[in-house]
Symmetry: C2
């Protein structure tokens, strides 16, 4: 077994996982619960795997307070496949859907929906280079749904209140990069979805939480793997599910409960984000955050340095100090610190210390 | 770490994985190649993950002898999503596709293709309860493609020669349950696909091998996760891929090479299958194979006992003897032994011994 060296992982996704979750997976990788098989080798129809998927769902329901008239699905294809499945299932032929565009991901969702039918942009902050939330909306009261992205991973913009949509218009939300990072009121949503590979597990599984009346919208004759109705009714077991990824998100949900649930997780996440934002704000302009203060994400913190050369040096030196994954997305430039659930306070402090030290040497 | 108890795993999929592959994954689960991160935590854009996916592809190309005018993709959604993606990408509007139906899986592929356009059944063995290969075909010379299933997991029917299709008609094949179990001539195919969870890894990744002219057929405006062109051009990295599952199939490909490649694998698989088929044939009718001898699968061996009561007892007693996953699919009934690549000769012998002993006590 290789020596236990671990770094501070600020990757935007796949991202850091809780150490104890990885240790549990490692310990039972060859013999899951005494079966004499890996969890990867057991049948998805076995009682052992049923316990895995049912416990994962029950723990998620408890964490998020999911009402009983919502189904939970564990699907494949990432959030990007949901960009297409949502209009396929929820937008009837001829109807239009509203999109709120606050960054690269909501823009990508819009693009997919547009391929398949009519869309309307209810708000966009593109002219501000996606550094803020919309200050006004132009909702279509007849929209099939309103789609928004609760946290923009690339631009570091997070909604802390749901957009107020017209009465009766279902609210659909991509919560990939702030999933289970804090409590939310699920009852305000018609459908929520999240690729797991940021706060909830490895890549390869997408959690979809959908209200029963949304699932009832699924039209006839959709390909079965794109059909919410079939997928929900089969308990995500129409075909072989991504068993190991589901097992891992189950371990993460259990860990989140043990950490005190989502209220405790929010406290932990606010504390970490404050450490990094303070390092930016206390730098007298050496570090510049991308996002306006009131829309600052608790998960993804993009920031710039005085020059691209310094940014290069920063990334290299950070890496030497075991601070990994800090290079920003090319569309924003600069750096980005992703401080997901599993990032420790210690990690945030190490980054803040490094930032202050780097500034002293280069400011 | 839990004690190393391992059973003989005859599950139809997810199925048995090579012990040394699991051990390697376990050893580096917390620290992948000295990165200080799990392979689940590294960026899919990192040089470390690039090495994972590129090595997996290179090893597969070597194992199967994939010509350079074919792309290899690592996708999500299982073979079942391919049932829809194939007609979406390869069958132009108004065109028809031919289907050869030899069991539950080819029938499911037909059903999905039918939802999306015109199909023609070139052959079916349904009236024989899928216990044989077709003895004649009625191919449409203008078909967009011919689809067949090389090995039917449920019915235990395997093609050892490709159906001879009309000149110029592309041959498309589901090889999920006999993937990398023996050499095949890839150049006879336009597209091959396989869910990994039988011979090649855990569930959650599907390998698609497509000739360039097939990828060129992709129409405009498909949802991006259903679009072979985009997926192939991005090297399966349009969005976050199922990293851990790709890592695992990479380890399995490396193991298969170490075992001597696919010619050696076929020898190993023929030896194992013979052990089980001999146990059936030497039982004077106590055990009855589902499949006619010339179509017998090397991977999945369904068989019946004299009564359903005896079948129940057989499954229970087998389990007590650490022979797991032998219950057949309800559509065929009885038992099924899946003897994939990673099943050992020792495992097949243990099963054969148990079968003889069970017959002695109950015959």
């Amino acid at each position: 077994m290789s020596e236990l060296k671990r770094v501070y992982n600020f990757n935007p996704g796949p991202g850091v996982l809780p150490l104890e979750v990885l240790q549990e997976a490692q310990a039972e990788l060859l013999n899951f619960k005494g079966t004499g098989m890996s969890v990867m080798e057991i049948s998805h129809r076995s009682k052992e795997f049923e316990a895995v998927i049912q416990t994962a769902e029950a723990d998620l329901r408890e964490l998020l307070g999911i009402p009983s008239n919502y189904k939970v699905m564990f699907l494949q294809g990432g959030a990007t496949l949901q960009f297409a499945m949502i209009p396929m299932n929820l937008r009837a032929a001829g109807a239009s859907a509203d999109y709120v565009v606050t960054g690269s991901w909501s823009k990508a969702a819009l693009k997919e929906a547009k391929k398949l039918g009519a869309v309307h942009i209810a708000a966009t902050t593109e002219s501000e280079n996606f550094n803020c939330l919309p200050d006004k909306y132009d909702f279509d009261p007849k929209a099939a749904y309103v789609h928004y992205t609760m946290n923009e991973t690339i631009h570091g913009v997070e909604f802390f209140n749901e957009p107020v949509v017209p009465d009766g218009v279902p609210l659909v939300c991509d919560t990939s990069s702030n999933f289970i990072s804090r409590p939310i009121d699920v009852s305000k949503y018609a459908l929520l979805y999240a690729g797991a590979q940021k706060n909830a597990g490895p890549s390869g599984v997408t959690v979809v939480i959908a209200r029963d009346d949304m699932i009832a919208r699924t039209p006839e004759n959709l390909p079965v793997m794109l059909d919410y109705k079939t997928l929900a009714e089969s308990g995500s077991l129409h075909n072989t599910p991504p068993s190991f990824a589901i097992y891992m998100v189950g371990l993460v949900f259990k860990w989140a409960k043990k950490m005190g649930g989502l209220a405790a997780m929010e406290k932990h996440n606010r504390e970490k984000a404050a450490i990094v934002y303070n390092a930016i704000d206390d730098s007298a302009g050496f570090y510049r955050g991308h996002t306006v203060p009131e829309a600052r994400s608790l998960m993804n913190i993009p920031f710039r340095l005085p020059s691209e050369e310094l940014e290069e040096t920063f990334a290299k030196e950070a890496k030497k100090n075991d601070l990994i994954g800090l290079k920003g997305h090319r569309s924003v430039g600069g750096m980005r610190a992703s401080v997901y659930n599993a990032m420790t306070i210690e990690g945030a402090k190490e980054l803040s210390k490094f930032m202050a030290d780097f500034q002293k040497r280069n400011g």
